[in-house]
Symmetry: C2
Subunit: 336 residues, 2 copies
């Protein structure tokens, strides 16, 4: 099929429908501006603060949108997910809000804080649990398949699912709505892991502002999507070494990649040192706690990887979940 | 004069007039909520995030409101202030926005970051400067008087001024407006240094919600206002040793204290360790960088100094200006 005309996994209507499902459940997160940031970049920058989303990241939007579409039978049996990161917490919280059991499969050596946070979101929901596995000797996919079959649970993947993509696209929808009074955005910067957020946002943005350029930002060490765009096919890489743990994906999805090919102008990369600079800037000037992955878009702009003088630029600040001791260490060592 | 009927320095009309002057200049800062905070305190908590105000603190509101009322002659000569803290930056920025010179008198051993920030806000405004003095051998009041006389400049004090108090009261005005849809607030927690913020907020709050209780929060080591309320007169103390540098005032003002006596139910105190707990909570759960003084109200609620189960509680988070290295150290050592 011609990739320029083949139907994409989601359209703008799916994002509008997701927004209706999320109303009253997700926060309409604030859009922050900073005179210092504008002066430094020469652009007019609008930061969509998904670090202030429920459970601290945009992932809630996709998870809730997916779970809200379960049939009554699916709801009774519940949801299963593999994740030690924001997707785990997003599924755990969304399931509880919708009154369904969740099983989150996590490595047994996950940080205690992450296990506690996930269990905290499951609290009060019968049938919910964190299931631990040994990542050196056990196969999480096999565990997941067995549990899903035994309990009739539905697996929700972190990005390669149309409902997840559409839910995540509501972040760009809100950003564009909330900045529309001043005119359209010229540029939108979005972090890229598996591509769920950037693909949803690109669909929303191009529908509302046909002239917008959507640029994805990956960590330097994990530029699989950049490589994939260059080669025109999904490239698989080893798990990249980067502090941007939310973008340590090995490849984009079969549903997300065609959207990226069609609607994302290009992918740029930033180094871990640039991410730390962005995190420090966010703390010092924006008073925002941003996790490394959440700083990808800001870092690209702040460090001049993307120059946009005179333009109106939207940036999705995707999350703020970072272990506080680690965060303190990054801020302290951050004079990079 | 009977303290119960004597006219106060400001009324509600002054706050409304201040709000009109600040429109388009000050940020209407967001009001954040946190399910975790609500669960932990049993209250419904609304955090007015003045750490997201221009220059990072509520002080901008008072400074701009004062300077905007200068006569043409006063504007030409400009403004002078003594401060090494948020008031300095608030005056410097407001003066530049209004196109007038500012002289900020600061100790020569002020942290380089604070000097740079203040000079940054003065940039591009002719006649503006930071004037350094040696706090061990020189008298800043004498320096200020001399410069003010020589240059015809107007001194704006950090809190004991009706325009400053009225401007700062707009923080509570906005908070109450933005939460009104859910009903009136039962309780408002405000940090107390010299009393400018709490007095302005108390006037706004009592006008809009006559049944509200306004509670001030001081650092344990600097409870001069608590003592003053007990004795019925302004008590002077030595400069208190506390990490809440914005509340290291030695006494409340002759204009602020009568308002506090009339409209503030009581003053409670929190320890430095409780402030660090609040800062950590703000970073971890709210993703907000809060300076120690900015965490006074939150600490009182979070640590149970003030209990408000079942109530709707407003908290002014007053600022986010903290040296990042120091902030990182406080977060890292924060398991208090």
């Amino acid at each position: 099929m011609n990739p320029d005309t083949a139907p994409l996994a989601i359209g703008y209507d799916d994002i509008i429908a997701a927004a209706a499902r999320l109303a009253g459940q997700a926060h309409r997160t604030p859009v922050l501006t900073s005179t210092t940031l504008n002066t430094r970049t020469g652009a007019q920058v609008f930061l969509k603060c998904e670090n202030l989303q429920r459970m601290g990241a945009f992932k809630f939007r996709g998870a809730y949108n997916a779970l809200a579409q379960f049939t009554p039978g699916q709801r009774r049996a519940g949801v299963i997910a593999f994740s030690s990161g924001n997707h785990a917490q997003a599924i755990a919280l969304s399931a509880r809000l919708l009154g369904m059991p969740s099983v989150i499969v996590m490595p047994q050596d996950s940080p205690a804080a992450k296990l506690a946070a996930t269990r905290g979101y499951q609290q009060g929901q019968a049938g919910s649990e964190v299931m631990l596995y040994d990542r050196y000797t056990e196969d999480r996919e096999a565990i997941g398949r067995r549990v899903a079959e035994e309990r009739g649970m539905t697996l929700i993947p972190p990005y390669d699912h149309p409902h997840v993509m559409a839910g995540q696209g509501t972040a760009a929808l809100e950003l564009i709505e909330d900045t529309a009074a001043g005119g359209p955005l010229d540029l939108l910067l979005v972090c890229v892991g598996g591509g769920g957020l950037v693909s949803g946002c690109a669909v929303a943005a191009h529908h509302l502002n046909p002239g917008i350029r959507v640029v994805g930002v990956e960590p330097e060490a994990g530029n699989d999507t950049q490589q994939s765009l260059a080669l025109g096919r999904i490239v698989h890489i080893d798990t990249p070494k980067t502090i941007a743990d939310g973008a340590q994906t090995q490849h984009s999805g079969t549903l997300t990649f065609p959207v990226i090919q069609r609607l994302v102008e290009r992918i740029v990369t930033v180094s871990d040192a640039q991410l730390v600079q962005a995190m420090r800037f966010a703390a010092e000037r924006l008073k925002q706690v941003v996790e490394p992955t959440g700083g990808l878009g800001l870092a690209a702009l702040l460090c001049g990887v993307v120059a946009a003088p005179g333009q109106r630029v939207g940036v999705i600040v995707s999350g703020g979940n970072v272990d506080i001791a680690r965060y303190a260490a990054l801020l302290a060592d951050g004079a990079v």
